[in-house]
């Protein structure tokens, strides 16, 4: 049993984060000229968009939400762009390459949160909020404590996610472009600051849309090329793949073997997705609830399609990359035996792009991977900066009396500070084991952000006291259980056995949050609690009908 759990843990941590399987020490590669040309085209194009967007970003509303002028289709594409990170493209195709069917299980976990966001969250969020999800959570509760807690949850999620992205990007760029690690990290940080500070949400959205389009086109081309090789017959693709790697790859392996871990991971992925501040923020960029719901429909379609492509790409790599002398890591083979590929299993998709399209297409996919990182970190930084300026500065420090221009200025300063933190953390964590980071970010989003947001919309009896105590309890439990769990306690701190045996704390920390919020709300008999319960009806009417909701600004 323990062995199976360990396999599960090893696999899933390798998955959550691309650089993890790319390996601690990455050899710098020779300069990749087509990749650099295509990357420069992307950077030039997106900086052009940033210039265009900067002229249209005049008010705080423009900065945070692109004036609410994004259509449902565009937003769906941008959400897909936010969600399809380099880690999921390289990581999931790498997992399919390594373990076959298990990769599909993982993708499904990442997808099923989306329908739930549509049915329960998207429209109400759009009808109640303005710039951040804390607007919704604090709608009828006391601003100070709720905003402070929601902003802490947002900033913690954003910084953790940023560290993971920065370290991953440094290693990936080093490998793909032959740039030095520090230079790669600084380049990503500086470009991201430029996009967000000058172009705000409008530039960030278009960077996401372009990147999503490029990634989907590149992945489609690879999948079609693989299928063409097999006359579009899945049975012959699978038959050749099993000849290479054995029949096990067609069945579930060790990924989901222990029910508690499996359910805990499922909860983290589902509720975590619905609590990620940069994803929630995207719902304020559309004009109304109707466009918000259309965004999720398109996003779910793009993301689902993308996961099916990564499955084909992973199998294609088994056939065309595995045992192919061109991609074999001879030095590693001499030590470990087997057929290791250059750069580790997560480079399977990158090598496949070379196998099906030569140097030119390899350059394209490398540039797309870089673009993907830039787009994701921009969205994250904008969400973090909004939590600082809109929730902490304007609502907590200025008590709602800040003017829009000052608020936007704070947001831009916060963007620069977050960018610098991301660069420094990226460099500091280069050789650290950060496999726990994305898992922790999802756990915090699921245990602190989501329960407060969800109950504030659906449960009349929620009070400030309940939300603050329960939300903090969820946050604290998530952090503690990750520290006491196998990854930090055993792998990083070097103890023999974990105090908390599971890698994913969500089942326990989400329960702690919901129970805490429930208990400390129903036992709250203060006058302010009575007022908060009283205010639910007005909030409910607005959340259901959109009467009084923030509209799109005229452009």
């Amino acid at each position: 049993m323990l062995g199976r759990i360990l396999v599960f843990i090893a696999l899933s941590s390798a998955m959550l984060f691309a650089a993890d399987a790319i390996g601690g020490m990455v050899e710098k590669q020779a300069l990749n000229v087509p990749a650099i040309i295509m990357f420069l085209l992307f950077v030039g194009g997106t900086l052009g968009i940033t210039y265009w967007a900067a002229k249209r970003t005049k008010t705080a509303k423009d900065f945070y939400t692109a004036g609410g002028s994004i259509t449902g289709f565009q937003n769906g594409m941008a959400i897909a762009g936010d969600y399809m990170s380099a880690a999921s493209f390289l990581g999931i195709s790498g997992l399919v390459y390594m373990k076959g069917y298990d990769g599909l299980i993982y993708s499904i976990g990442f997808l099923v949160g989306w329908p739930i966001i549509l049915f329960l969250v998207a429209e109400q969020l759009r009808n109640l909020g303005k710039y951040t999800f804390a607007d919704v959570a604090s709608y009828r509760l006391r601003q100070m404590p709720i905003r402070s807690l929601a902003a802490s949850g947002s900033i913690a999620t954003v910084i953790l996610y940023l560290i993971a992205q920065m370290v991953g990007s440094g290693k990936l760029i080093q490998l793909l472009f032959g740039l030095q690690y520090e230079i790669a990290v600084i380049l990503v940080g500086v470009l991201m600051i430029l996009y967000v500070v000058f172009g705000g949400m409008l530039a960030t959205t278009w960077v996401q849309i372009i990147k999503a389009f490029l990634l989907l086109s590149g992945a489609t081309f690879m999948a079609v090329a693989v299928m063409a090789h097999f006359d579009f017959s899945f049975s012959s693709l699978f038959a050749t793949a099993t000849e290479m790697k054995g029949i096990e790859i067609m069945s579930p392996g060790g990924l989901v073997s222990d029910p508690v871990s499996a359910i805990s991971l499922a909860i983290a992925l589902m509720f975590g997705t619905a609590g990620l501040p940069h994803i929630l923020m995207r719902f304020f960029t559309v004009g109304d609830a109707k466009e918000a719901r259309k965004s999720v429909f398109y996003a779910t379609g793009f993301i689902g399609y993308f996961y099916i492509l990564t499955f084909i790409i992973g199998f294609g790599a088994i056939v065309m990359v595995f045992k192919n002398p061109e991609y074999l890591d001879l030095a590693k083979q001499a030590v470990e035996g087997g057929y290791p590929i250059l750069g580790g299993n997560n480079m399977a998709a990158v090598h496949l792009s070379h196998a099906v399209g030569g140097d030119f297409f390899l350059g394209f996919i490398s540039a797309v991977a870089f673009a993907t990182i830039l787009a994701v970190v921009s969205g994250l930084t904008l969400a973090g900066a909004s939590a600082i300026s809109h929730d902490l500065y304007a609502s907590v420090i200025k008590k709602g009396k800040a003017d829009g221009i000052a608020e936007m200025k704070v947001s831009k300063i916060a963007t620069i500070v977050l960018g610098l933190i991301a660069i420094l953390m990226g460099i500091a964590f280069e050789n650290q084991n950060i496999a726990f980071v994305v898992g922790l970010a999802f756990a915090i989003a699921a245990s602190a952000n989501f329960p407060i947001l969800f109950l504030s919309m659906f449960w009349k009896k929620l009070t400030t006291r309940g939300a603050v105590i329960g939300g903090s309890l969820g946050l604290f439990t998530a952090v503690m259980l990750v520290i006491l769990g196998p990854i930090v306690w055993v792998d990083i701190l070097g103890n023999a056995e974990a105090i908390f045996p599971y890698k994913y704390p969500a089942l326990f920390s989400v329960s702690a949050a919901f129970i805490g919020i429930w208990f400390f709300s129903i036992t709250d008999s203060s006058d302010s609690a009575a007022e908060e319960i009283e205010a639910f009806d007005a909030q409910y009417v607005r959340s259901q009908t959109g009467i009084g909701a923030e509209g799109a600004s005229g452009h």
Binding site: Y101, P115, M250, P252, P259, F297, D537, I547
Partner: protein, 105 residues
């Protein structure tokens, strides 16, 4: 929103119809995706061999492949079903509520 306005919207039969229909629909679809996904996860945890059964005697493709792809398609189809009904029926009801609320102002 003023208190009287909230009360009048709450008592509007269109509002009550919208809320009860939409809640029932949204929670039913939520239950559908949760049941499908958790059945899949529990099947994997308790009986991993089931999904590893080949589709036919000499086939390599296992039952798990079409099942996995079907869950992805199912998730997308559910969002489509929701959006379709919300765009027509629920939006029409919402419009009626808004019109009435304007009249009463």
């Amino acid at each position: 929103m003023r208190k009287e306005q909230v009360e009048s919207i709450k008592n509007d039969p269109n509002f009550q119809e919208l809320v009860s229909k939409r809640s029932r629909f949204a929670w039913t679809l939520t239950a559908a995706i949760l049941i499908v996904y958790f059945s899949f996860i529990l099947l994997l945890a308790y009986s991993p061999g089931t999904l590893g059964t080949p589709l036919s005697e000499d086939a390599v493709t296992t039952v798990g492949i079409p099942v996995g792809v079907a869950i992805i398609v199912f998730a997308f189809a559910l969002t489509g079903i929701y959006v379709r009904r919300a765009n027509s029926e629920f939006d029409a009801l919402t419009q009626k509520i808004k019109d009435k609320a304007k009249e009463n102002e």
